[in-house]
Protein backbone atom coordinates (compact mmCIF):
# COMPACT_ATOMS: atom_id res chain seq x y z
CA UNK A 1 0.00 0.00 0.00
CA UNK A 2 2.73 2.48 0.96
CA UNK A 3 4.84 1.58 -2.08
CA UNK A 4 1.80 2.24 -4.30
CA UNK A 5 1.60 5.80 -3.06
CA UNK A 6 5.35 6.09 -3.44
CA UNK A 7 4.90 5.32 -7.14
CA UNK A 8 2.23 8.02 -7.34
CA UNK A 9 4.68 10.42 -5.71
CA UNK A 10 7.33 9.49 -8.28
CA UNK A 11 4.76 10.04 -11.02
CA UNK A 12 4.12 13.49 -9.57
CA UNK A 13 7.84 14.33 -9.67
CA UNK A 14 8.47 13.01 -13.19
CA UNK A 15 5.19 14.44 -14.48
CA UNK A 16 6.23 17.90 -13.29
CA UNK A 17 9.84 17.52 -14.44
CA UNK A 18 9.15 16.77 -18.10
CA UNK A 19 6.94 19.80 -18.91
CA UNK A 20 9.23 21.98 -16.79
CA UNK A 21 12.18 20.72 -18.85
CA UNK A 22 10.29 21.57 -22.05
CA UNK A 23 9.74 25.14 -20.84
CA UNK A 24 13.36 25.55 -19.71
CA UNK A 25 14.74 24.22 -23.02
CA UNK A 26 12.43 26.58 -24.90
CA UNK A 27 13.56 29.48 -22.70
CA UNK A 28 17.22 28.72 -23.50
CA UNK A 29 16.73 28.26 -27.24
CA UNK A 30 14.28 31.06 -27.91
CA UNK A 31 15.26 34.66 -28.71
CA UNK A 32 14.53 37.39 -26.18
CA UNK A 33 13.73 40.79 -27.73
CA UNK A 34 11.13 42.47 -25.52
CA UNK A 35 9.60 45.82 -26.35
CA UNK A 36 6.70 47.72 -24.75
CA UNK A 37 4.23 47.11 -27.59
CA UNK A 38 4.88 43.39 -27.60
CA UNK A 39 4.42 43.14 -23.86
CA UNK A 40 1.17 45.07 -23.69
CA UNK A 41 -1.93 43.19 -22.58
CA UNK A 42 -4.01 41.84 -25.44
CA UNK A 43 -7.47 43.39 -25.63
CA UNK A 44 -8.66 43.80 -29.22
CA UNK A 45 -5.95 46.28 -30.10
CA UNK A 46 -6.96 49.05 -27.67
CA UNK A 47 -5.40 49.97 -24.34
CA UNK A 48 -6.79 48.09 -21.37
CA UNK A 49 -9.27 50.14 -19.37
CA UNK A 50 -9.22 49.90 -15.59
CA UNK A 51 -8.24 47.04 -13.33
CA UNK A 52 -7.61 43.66 -15.00
CA UNK A 53 -8.75 41.59 -12.05
CA UNK A 54 -12.45 42.23 -12.51
CA UNK A 55 -15.23 41.11 -10.20
CA UNK A 56 -17.43 38.23 -11.21
CA UNK A 57 -21.09 37.70 -10.50
CA UNK A 58 -22.30 36.72 -7.04
CA UNK A 59 -24.43 33.92 -8.50
CA UNK A 60 -21.18 32.06 -8.89
CA UNK A 61 -20.89 31.75 -5.12
CA UNK A 62 -24.31 30.07 -4.80
CA UNK A 63 -23.38 27.44 -7.36
CA UNK A 64 -20.20 26.77 -5.41
CA UNK A 65 -22.27 26.27 -2.24
CA UNK A 66 -24.65 23.80 -3.90
CA UNK A 67 -21.70 21.99 -5.45
CA UNK A 68 -20.06 21.63 -2.06
CA UNK A 69 -23.09 19.82 -0.67
CA UNK A 70 -23.13 17.29 -3.52
CA UNK A 71 -19.36 16.83 -3.56
CA UNK A 72 -19.28 15.91 0.11
CA UNK A 73 -22.22 13.60 -0.49
CA UNK A 74 -20.27 11.59 -3.06
CA UNK A 75 -17.63 10.83 -0.46
CA UNK A 76 -20.37 9.01 1.45
CA UNK A 77 -21.76 7.38 -1.68
CA UNK A 78 -18.52 5.69 -2.79
CA UNK A 79 -18.23 3.29 0.18
CA UNK A 80 -21.97 2.68 -0.15
CA UNK A 81 -21.54 1.72 -3.82
CA UNK A 82 -18.58 -0.58 -3.14
CA UNK A 83 -20.32 -2.60 -0.45
CA UNK A 84 -23.77 -2.60 -2.05
CA UNK A 85 -23.47 -6.15 -3.42
CA UNK A 86 -22.86 -7.57 0.05
CA UNK A 87 -25.37 -5.48 1.98
CA UNK A 88 -28.41 -6.14 -0.20
CA UNK A 89 -31.79 -4.43 -0.27
CA UNK A 90 -31.55 -2.73 3.12
CA UNK A 91 -28.55 -0.62 2.06
CA UNK A 92 -30.23 0.27 -1.22
CA UNK A 93 -33.26 1.67 0.61
CA UNK A 94 -30.99 3.59 3.00
CA UNK A 95 -29.12 5.05 0.02
CA UNK A 96 -32.40 6.08 -1.59
CA UNK A 97 -33.46 7.94 1.56
CA UNK A 98 -30.06 9.67 1.76
CA UNK A 99 -30.19 10.75 -1.89
CA UNK A 100 -33.84 11.79 -1.47
CA UNK A 101 -32.98 14.19 1.35
CA UNK A 102 -30.27 15.78 -0.80
CA UNK A 103 -32.61 16.01 -3.78
CA UNK A 104 -35.05 17.91 -1.54
CA UNK A 105 -32.24 20.43 -1.05
CA UNK A 106 -31.81 20.73 -4.81
CA UNK A 107 -35.55 21.22 -5.32
CA UNK A 108 -35.53 23.92 -2.62
CA UNK A 109 -32.67 25.76 -4.34
CA UNK A 110 -34.48 25.38 -7.67
CA UNK A 111 -37.77 26.77 -6.32
CA UNK A 112 -35.89 29.69 -4.74
CA UNK A 113 -34.55 30.53 -8.20
CA UNK A 114 -30.95 29.90 -7.18
CA UNK A 115 -30.19 27.80 -10.27
CA UNK A 116 -30.64 30.68 -12.71
CA UNK A 117 -27.46 31.97 -14.33
CA UNK A 118 -28.47 35.61 -14.83
Amino acid sequence: MQTEWMYIGLFLVVGALIPAAAIIVAAILSPRKPNPIKESTYECGIETVGENWVQFKAQYYIFALIFLVFDVETVFLFPWAVSLNQLGMFAVVEGIIFIGILMAGLVYAWRKGMLEWV
Partner: protein, 395 residues
Protein backbone atom coordinates in the same frame (compact mmCIF):
# COMPACT_ATOMS: atom_id res chain seq x y z
CA UNK B 1 0.30 -10.05 -9.96
CA UNK B 2 2.79 -8.42 -12.29
CA UNK B 3 2.77 -4.69 -12.80
CA UNK B 4 4.75 -1.94 -14.42
CA UNK B 5 7.09 -1.81 -11.40
CA UNK B 6 7.63 -5.48 -10.60
CA UNK B 7 8.39 -7.60 -13.63
CA UNK B 8 11.48 -9.51 -14.82
CA UNK B 9 12.98 -6.42 -16.46
CA UNK B 10 12.75 -4.15 -13.42
CA UNK B 11 13.95 -7.01 -11.16
CA UNK B 12 16.97 -7.41 -13.41
CA UNK B 13 17.62 -3.68 -13.47
CA UNK B 14 17.42 -3.24 -9.71
CA UNK B 15 19.69 -6.33 -9.45
CA UNK B 16 22.24 -4.51 -11.59
CA UNK B 17 22.01 -1.39 -9.40
CA UNK B 18 22.45 -3.46 -6.23
CA UNK B 19 25.43 -5.12 -7.90
CA UNK B 20 27.02 -1.66 -8.15
CA UNK B 21 26.88 -1.43 -4.39
CA UNK B 22 23.57 0.40 -4.05
CA UNK B 23 21.12 0.09 -1.17
CA UNK B 24 18.30 -2.30 -2.34
CA UNK B 25 15.56 0.21 -1.45
CA UNK B 26 17.32 3.01 -3.33
CA UNK B 27 17.81 0.67 -6.29
CA UNK B 28 14.09 -0.09 -6.23
CA UNK B 29 13.16 3.61 -6.22
CA UNK B 30 15.66 4.33 -9.01
CA UNK B 31 14.23 1.50 -11.13
CA UNK B 32 10.69 2.79 -10.59
CA UNK B 33 11.89 6.27 -11.54
CA UNK B 34 13.35 4.94 -14.80
CA UNK B 35 10.18 2.95 -15.54
CA UNK B 36 8.01 6.05 -15.02
CA UNK B 37 10.36 8.17 -17.13
CA UNK B 38 10.04 5.60 -19.90
CA UNK B 39 6.23 5.45 -19.67
CA UNK B 40 5.89 9.24 -19.67
CA UNK B 41 8.27 9.55 -22.63
CA UNK B 42 6.14 7.07 -24.56
CA UNK B 43 3.04 9.06 -23.58
CA UNK B 44 4.60 12.32 -24.77
CA UNK B 45 5.54 10.75 -28.12
CA UNK B 46 1.97 9.47 -28.39
CA UNK B 47 0.86 13.03 -27.69
CA UNK B 48 2.87 14.26 -30.70
CA UNK B 49 0.97 11.87 -32.93
CA UNK B 50 -2.32 12.92 -31.31
CA UNK B 51 -1.73 16.41 -32.73
CA UNK B 52 -1.50 14.87 -36.17
CA UNK B 53 -4.58 12.66 -35.57
CA UNK B 54 -6.59 15.62 -34.30
CA UNK B 55 -5.73 17.71 -37.34
CA UNK B 56 -6.56 14.85 -39.69
CA UNK B 57 -9.90 14.17 -37.93
CA UNK B 58 -10.99 17.82 -37.99
CA UNK B 59 -9.93 18.06 -41.63
CA UNK B 60 -12.09 15.08 -42.58
CA UNK B 61 -15.07 16.46 -40.67
CA UNK B 62 -14.71 19.76 -42.50
CA UNK B 63 -14.20 18.11 -45.89
CA UNK B 64 -10.52 18.99 -46.13
CA UNK B 65 -7.40 16.82 -46.47
CA UNK B 66 -5.39 18.10 -43.51
CA UNK B 67 -1.60 18.04 -43.18
CA UNK B 68 -0.18 16.09 -46.14
CA UNK B 69 3.06 17.83 -47.17
CA UNK B 70 5.73 16.77 -44.69
CA UNK B 71 6.49 13.07 -44.91
CA UNK B 72 3.96 10.33 -45.70
CA UNK B 73 0.43 11.60 -44.89
CA UNK B 74 2.02 14.64 -43.24
CA UNK B 75 3.29 12.53 -40.34
CA UNK B 76 6.39 14.70 -39.83
CA UNK B 77 4.24 17.84 -39.46
CA UNK B 78 3.82 17.68 -35.65
CA UNK B 79 7.61 17.44 -35.19
CA UNK B 80 8.04 20.57 -37.30
CA UNK B 81 5.39 22.23 -35.11
CA UNK B 82 7.31 21.33 -31.96
CA UNK B 83 10.58 22.74 -33.29
CA UNK B 84 8.73 25.92 -34.18
CA UNK B 85 7.15 26.15 -30.71
CA UNK B 86 10.50 25.66 -28.98
CA UNK B 87 12.30 28.43 -30.86
CA UNK B 88 9.43 30.94 -30.57
CA UNK B 89 10.08 33.98 -28.41
CA UNK B 90 9.17 33.75 -24.75
CA UNK B 91 6.92 36.78 -24.13
CA UNK B 92 6.04 37.95 -20.63
CA UNK B 93 3.17 40.45 -20.94
CA UNK B 94 2.98 43.45 -18.62
CA UNK B 95 2.00 42.75 -15.02
CA UNK B 96 2.24 38.98 -15.24
CA UNK B 97 2.81 37.04 -12.03
CA UNK B 98 5.83 35.13 -13.36
CA UNK B 99 5.93 32.18 -10.96
CA UNK B 100 2.25 31.27 -11.25
CA UNK B 101 2.29 32.06 -14.97
CA UNK B 102 5.08 29.54 -15.59
CA UNK B 103 3.70 26.98 -13.18
CA UNK B 104 0.24 26.79 -14.79
CA UNK B 105 1.19 24.85 -17.97
CA UNK B 106 3.40 22.52 -15.94
CA UNK B 107 0.56 21.65 -13.57
CA UNK B 108 -1.81 21.25 -16.51
CA UNK B 109 0.45 18.67 -18.13
CA UNK B 110 1.20 17.03 -14.79
CA UNK B 111 -2.48 16.56 -14.01
CA UNK B 112 -2.88 14.62 -17.25
CA UNK B 113 0.29 12.57 -16.84
CA UNK B 114 -0.75 11.65 -13.28
CA UNK B 115 -3.87 9.98 -14.70
CA UNK B 116 -1.61 7.52 -16.53
CA UNK B 117 -0.49 6.18 -13.16
CA UNK B 118 -3.76 4.23 -12.84
CA UNK B 119 -4.26 3.47 -16.53
CA UNK B 120 -4.93 -0.28 -17.01
CA UNK B 121 -3.19 -0.83 -20.35
CA UNK B 122 -3.28 -4.64 -20.25
CA UNK B 123 -3.63 -7.37 -17.60
CA UNK B 124 0.05 -7.06 -16.65
CA UNK B 125 0.87 -3.59 -17.94
CA UNK B 126 -0.42 -0.91 -15.60
CA UNK B 127 1.19 1.64 -13.33
CA UNK B 128 -0.40 1.40 -9.91
CA UNK B 129 -3.47 -0.69 -9.16
CA UNK B 130 -4.91 1.71 -6.57
CA UNK B 131 -7.90 0.38 -4.66
CA UNK B 132 -9.38 3.90 -4.76
CA UNK B 133 -8.66 4.39 -8.46
CA UNK B 134 -11.98 6.06 -9.28
CA UNK B 135 -11.62 8.63 -6.49
CA UNK B 136 -8.04 9.25 -7.60
CA UNK B 137 -9.26 9.88 -11.13
CA UNK B 138 -11.75 12.51 -9.90
CA UNK B 139 -9.25 14.15 -7.58
CA UNK B 140 -6.46 14.42 -10.13
CA UNK B 141 -8.95 15.52 -12.78
CA UNK B 142 -9.68 18.62 -10.72
CA UNK B 143 -6.00 19.62 -10.77
CA UNK B 144 -6.39 20.70 -14.39
CA UNK B 145 -8.99 23.25 -13.32
CA UNK B 146 -6.59 24.58 -10.71
CA UNK B 147 -4.04 25.21 -13.44
CA UNK B 148 -6.65 26.97 -15.56
CA UNK B 149 -7.51 29.38 -12.76
CA UNK B 150 -3.78 29.89 -12.13
CA UNK B 151 -3.28 30.75 -15.80
CA UNK B 152 -6.30 33.05 -15.89
CA UNK B 153 -5.40 34.88 -12.68
CA UNK B 154 -1.70 35.36 -13.40
CA UNK B 155 -2.08 36.47 -17.04
CA UNK B 156 -3.29 39.95 -16.07
CA UNK B 157 -5.89 39.89 -18.82
CA UNK B 158 -9.66 40.20 -18.54
CA UNK B 159 -10.37 37.58 -21.20
CA UNK B 160 -8.13 35.08 -19.46
CA UNK B 161 -9.75 35.76 -16.10
CA UNK B 162 -13.30 35.43 -17.46
CA UNK B 163 -12.36 32.18 -19.21
CA UNK B 164 -10.91 30.78 -16.00
CA UNK B 165 -14.00 31.78 -13.97
CA UNK B 166 -16.26 30.12 -16.49
CA UNK B 167 -14.21 26.96 -16.48
CA UNK B 168 -14.43 26.72 -12.70
CA UNK B 169 -18.19 27.22 -12.80
CA UNK B 170 -18.47 24.49 -15.42
CA UNK B 171 -16.15 22.14 -13.57
CA UNK B 172 -17.91 22.39 -10.23
CA UNK B 173 -21.24 21.79 -11.97
CA UNK B 174 -20.40 18.91 -14.27
CA UNK B 175 -18.28 17.08 -11.74
CA UNK B 176 -21.46 15.89 -10.00
CA UNK B 177 -22.94 13.92 -12.95
CA UNK B 178 -19.46 12.60 -13.69
CA UNK B 179 -19.00 11.29 -10.17
CA UNK B 180 -22.43 9.67 -10.32
CA UNK B 181 -21.65 8.16 -13.73
CA UNK B 182 -18.51 6.63 -12.18
CA UNK B 183 -20.52 5.34 -9.22
CA UNK B 184 -22.49 3.09 -11.59
CA UNK B 185 -19.54 0.88 -12.68
CA UNK B 186 -18.50 0.89 -9.02
CA UNK B 187 -21.88 -0.51 -8.00
CA UNK B 188 -21.86 -3.16 -10.73
CA UNK B 189 -18.31 -4.35 -10.06
CA UNK B 190 -18.26 -3.75 -6.29
CA UNK B 191 -14.82 -2.13 -6.46
CA UNK B 192 -13.21 1.27 -6.90
CA UNK B 193 -10.02 -0.12 -8.47
CA UNK B 194 -9.97 0.52 -12.20
CA UNK B 195 -8.32 -2.81 -13.01
CA UNK B 196 -10.94 -4.62 -10.88
CA UNK B 197 -13.68 -2.88 -12.85
CA UNK B 198 -12.09 -4.13 -16.07
CA UNK B 199 -11.83 -7.68 -14.69
CA UNK B 200 -15.53 -7.58 -13.69
CA UNK B 201 -16.72 -6.77 -17.21
CA UNK B 202 -17.65 -10.17 -18.60
CA UNK B 203 -20.23 -8.17 -20.47
CA UNK B 204 -19.22 -4.60 -21.35
CA UNK B 205 -20.90 -2.04 -19.13
CA UNK B 206 -22.02 -0.07 -22.17
CA UNK B 207 -24.43 -2.98 -22.78
CA UNK B 208 -25.60 -3.17 -19.15
CA UNK B 209 -25.91 0.59 -18.50
CA UNK B 210 -25.94 2.53 -21.79
CA UNK B 211 -27.39 5.57 -19.99
CA UNK B 212 -24.44 5.62 -17.61
CA UNK B 213 -22.14 5.71 -20.61
CA UNK B 214 -23.99 8.64 -22.15
CA UNK B 215 -23.91 10.48 -18.82
CA UNK B 216 -20.16 9.94 -18.53
CA UNK B 217 -19.60 11.04 -22.12
CA UNK B 218 -21.47 14.32 -21.64
CA UNK B 219 -19.93 15.22 -18.30
CA UNK B 220 -16.43 14.21 -19.45
CA UNK B 221 -16.79 16.48 -22.49
CA UNK B 222 -17.59 19.35 -20.12
CA UNK B 223 -14.79 18.41 -17.78
CA UNK B 224 -12.33 18.38 -20.70
CA UNK B 225 -13.56 21.81 -21.79
CA UNK B 226 -14.12 20.70 -25.37
CA UNK B 227 -16.85 21.83 -27.74
CA UNK B 228 -19.83 22.13 -27.33
CA UNK B 229 -18.74 22.97 -23.76
CA UNK B 230 -15.54 24.90 -24.58
CA UNK B 231 -16.72 28.12 -22.95
CA UNK B 232 -13.38 28.63 -21.28
CA UNK B 233 -11.70 29.34 -24.61
CA UNK B 234 -14.72 30.39 -26.68
CA UNK B 235 -12.93 31.96 -29.66
CA UNK B 236 -15.74 34.27 -30.67
CA UNK B 237 -16.14 35.78 -27.18
CA UNK B 238 -12.91 35.35 -25.24
CA UNK B 239 -10.38 34.96 -28.11
CA UNK B 240 -8.58 32.07 -26.40
CA UNK B 241 -9.68 32.25 -22.78
CA UNK B 242 -7.18 31.20 -20.17
CA UNK B 243 -4.19 30.73 -22.51
CA UNK B 244 -4.59 34.02 -24.39
CA UNK B 245 -1.30 35.48 -23.09
CA UNK B 246 0.75 32.32 -23.53
CA UNK B 247 3.18 31.88 -26.39
CA UNK B 248 5.73 29.36 -27.60
CA UNK B 249 6.23 26.14 -25.67
CA UNK B 250 3.91 27.18 -22.82
CA UNK B 251 1.02 27.48 -25.23
CA UNK B 252 2.19 24.20 -26.77
CA UNK B 253 1.91 22.50 -23.38
CA UNK B 254 -1.67 23.72 -22.96
CA UNK B 255 -2.55 22.48 -26.42
CA UNK B 256 -0.80 19.14 -26.03
CA UNK B 257 -2.29 18.53 -22.61
CA UNK B 258 -5.80 19.16 -23.92
CA UNK B 259 -5.35 16.50 -26.60
CA UNK B 260 -3.69 14.07 -24.21
CA UNK B 261 -6.43 14.69 -21.63
CA UNK B 262 -9.02 13.81 -24.26
CA UNK B 263 -7.19 10.64 -25.23
CA UNK B 264 -6.81 9.71 -21.56
CA UNK B 265 -10.54 10.12 -21.03
CA UNK B 266 -11.11 8.04 -24.16
CA UNK B 267 -9.05 5.41 -22.38
CA UNK B 268 -11.16 5.72 -19.23
CA UNK B 269 -14.32 5.36 -21.29
CA UNK B 270 -12.76 2.21 -22.70
CA UNK B 271 -11.85 0.98 -19.21
CA UNK B 272 -15.21 1.72 -17.59
CA UNK B 273 -17.64 0.97 -20.39
CA UNK B 274 -15.94 -0.84 -23.32
CA UNK B 275 -14.34 -3.60 -21.26
CA UNK B 276 -10.84 -2.10 -21.08
CA UNK B 277 -8.17 -4.48 -22.40
CA UNK B 278 -10.59 -7.41 -22.53
CA UNK B 279 -11.07 -9.27 -25.75
CA UNK B 280 -10.50 -12.73 -27.21
CA UNK B 281 -7.18 -14.12 -25.97
CA UNK B 282 -6.22 -11.08 -23.90
CA UNK B 283 -5.79 -13.01 -20.64
CA UNK B 284 -3.30 -15.47 -22.14
CA UNK B 285 -1.43 -13.03 -24.38
CA UNK B 286 -1.30 -9.69 -22.49
CA UNK B 287 0.17 -7.88 -25.50
CA UNK B 288 -3.15 -8.47 -27.28
CA UNK B 289 -4.83 -6.69 -24.34
CA UNK B 290 -2.70 -3.60 -24.97
CA UNK B 291 -3.71 -3.73 -28.62
CA UNK B 292 -7.44 -3.99 -27.78
CA UNK B 293 -7.15 -1.24 -25.20
CA UNK B 294 -5.49 1.20 -27.59
CA UNK B 295 -8.13 0.51 -30.25
CA UNK B 296 -10.95 1.13 -27.75
CA UNK B 297 -9.25 4.25 -26.38
CA UNK B 298 -8.90 5.58 -29.93
CA UNK B 299 -12.59 4.95 -30.50
CA UNK B 300 -13.32 6.94 -27.32
CA UNK B 301 -11.00 9.73 -28.52
CA UNK B 302 -12.71 9.77 -31.89
CA UNK B 303 -16.11 10.02 -30.15
CA UNK B 304 -14.97 13.21 -28.40
CA UNK B 305 -13.72 14.51 -31.74
CA UNK B 306 -17.03 13.66 -33.39
CA UNK B 307 -18.95 15.61 -30.75
CA UNK B 308 -16.51 18.53 -30.92
CA UNK B 309 -16.71 19.02 -34.67
CA UNK B 310 -20.44 18.42 -35.00
CA UNK B 311 -22.12 20.51 -32.31
CA UNK B 312 -22.06 24.31 -31.96
CA UNK B 313 -21.07 25.93 -28.67
CA UNK B 314 -23.76 26.16 -25.97
CA UNK B 315 -24.43 29.45 -24.15
CA UNK B 316 -23.31 29.39 -20.54
CA UNK B 317 -26.76 29.82 -18.94
CA UNK B 318 -28.15 27.01 -21.12
CA UNK B 319 -25.21 24.91 -20.10
CA UNK B 320 -25.78 25.47 -16.37
CA UNK B 321 -29.49 24.76 -16.90
CA UNK B 322 -28.65 21.51 -18.70
CA UNK B 323 -26.53 20.44 -15.78
CA UNK B 324 -28.48 21.54 -12.72
CA UNK B 325 -32.02 21.11 -14.02
CA UNK B 326 -31.53 17.96 -16.06
CA UNK B 327 -28.27 16.05 -15.59
CA UNK B 328 -28.06 16.23 -11.78
CA UNK B 329 -31.62 14.99 -11.06
CA UNK B 330 -31.34 12.52 -13.95
CA UNK B 331 -28.02 11.12 -12.74
CA UNK B 332 -29.22 10.57 -9.18
CA UNK B 333 -32.44 8.98 -10.37
CA UNK B 334 -30.42 6.70 -12.63
CA UNK B 335 -28.07 5.82 -9.76
CA UNK B 336 -30.99 4.85 -7.53
CA UNK B 337 -32.60 2.92 -10.38
CA UNK B 338 -29.43 0.96 -11.20
CA UNK B 339 -28.86 0.18 -7.52
CA UNK B 340 -32.44 -1.08 -7.24
CA UNK B 341 -32.40 -3.26 -10.36
CA UNK B 342 -28.98 -4.57 -9.42
CA UNK B 343 -30.31 -5.61 -6.00
CA UNK B 344 -33.50 -7.11 -7.46
CA UNK B 345 -31.55 -9.15 -10.04
CA UNK B 346 -28.84 -10.11 -7.51
CA UNK B 347 -29.85 -13.80 -7.67
CA UNK B 348 -29.15 -13.95 -11.40
CA UNK B 349 -25.69 -12.30 -11.44
CA UNK B 350 -23.53 -13.87 -14.16
CA UNK B 351 -26.40 -15.26 -16.23
CA UNK B 352 -28.11 -13.85 -19.30
CA UNK B 353 -31.23 -12.93 -17.26
CA UNK B 354 -29.17 -10.33 -15.34
CA UNK B 355 -27.67 -8.86 -18.51
CA UNK B 356 -30.95 -8.64 -20.42
CA UNK B 357 -32.73 -7.35 -17.31
CA UNK B 358 -30.21 -4.57 -16.79
CA UNK B 359 -30.27 -3.58 -20.46
CA UNK B 360 -34.07 -3.57 -20.73
CA UNK B 361 -34.54 -1.65 -17.48
CA UNK B 362 -32.03 0.94 -18.68
CA UNK B 363 -33.78 1.32 -22.01
CA UNK B 364 -37.10 1.68 -20.16
CA UNK B 365 -35.59 4.39 -17.96
CA UNK B 366 -34.28 6.22 -21.02
CA UNK B 367 -37.66 6.00 -22.74
CA UNK B 368 -39.50 7.38 -19.69
CA UNK B 369 -37.00 10.26 -19.45
CA UNK B 370 -37.44 11.11 -23.12
CA UNK B 371 -41.23 10.98 -22.71
CA UNK B 372 -41.14 13.38 -19.73
CA UNK B 373 -38.88 15.76 -21.66
CA UNK B 374 -41.14 15.59 -24.72
CA UNK B 375 -44.26 16.40 -22.68
CA UNK B 376 -42.50 19.29 -20.98
CA UNK B 377 -41.29 20.68 -24.30
CA UNK B 378 -44.82 20.36 -25.73
CA UNK B 379 -46.22 22.24 -22.73
CA UNK B 380 -43.68 25.02 -23.19
CA UNK B 381 -44.48 25.22 -26.89
CA UNK B 382 -48.23 25.42 -26.28
CA UNK B 383 -47.65 28.19 -23.75
CA UNK B 384 -45.78 30.19 -26.38
CA UNK B 385 -48.25 29.42 -29.17
CA UNK B 386 -51.26 30.21 -26.95
CA UNK B 387 -50.11 33.82 -26.63
CA UNK B 388 -50.00 34.48 -30.36
CA UNK B 389 -53.75 34.91 -31.17
CA UNK B 390 -53.98 37.64 -28.52
CA UNK B 391 -51.14 39.48 -30.18
CA UNK B 392 -52.91 39.27 -33.54
CA UNK B 393 -56.05 40.95 -32.24
CA UNK B 394 -58.04 38.27 -30.35
CA UNK B 395 -59.25 36.15 -33.29
Amino acid sequence: MDSFFSNPVTDWLSGVFTGWGMNPDAAHVLTAFIAILLLITVVMVLDIFLVWTERKIVARFQDRIGPNRLGPFGLIQPFADIIKLIIKENIYPKGVDKIVYNLAPVIMMMSVLLLWAVFPLSPILFGVDLNVGVLYLIGVGSLGTLSIIMAGWSSNNKYALLGAFRQVAVMISYEIPMVVALLIPTILSGSMGINDIVWAQDVWYIVLVPLGFILFLISATAELGRAPFDLTEAESELIAGHHIEYSGMKFGLFYASELLHTFTFGGFIAAFFFGGWRGPGAETYPILGLFYFLIKATIGYWLFGWIKYTLPRIRIDKMMDLNWKFLVPFSFALLVFVALTNALLADFVGSWIYWVGMLLSNLLFGWVTMEILRRRARGEREKVEGVQPVAEGGH
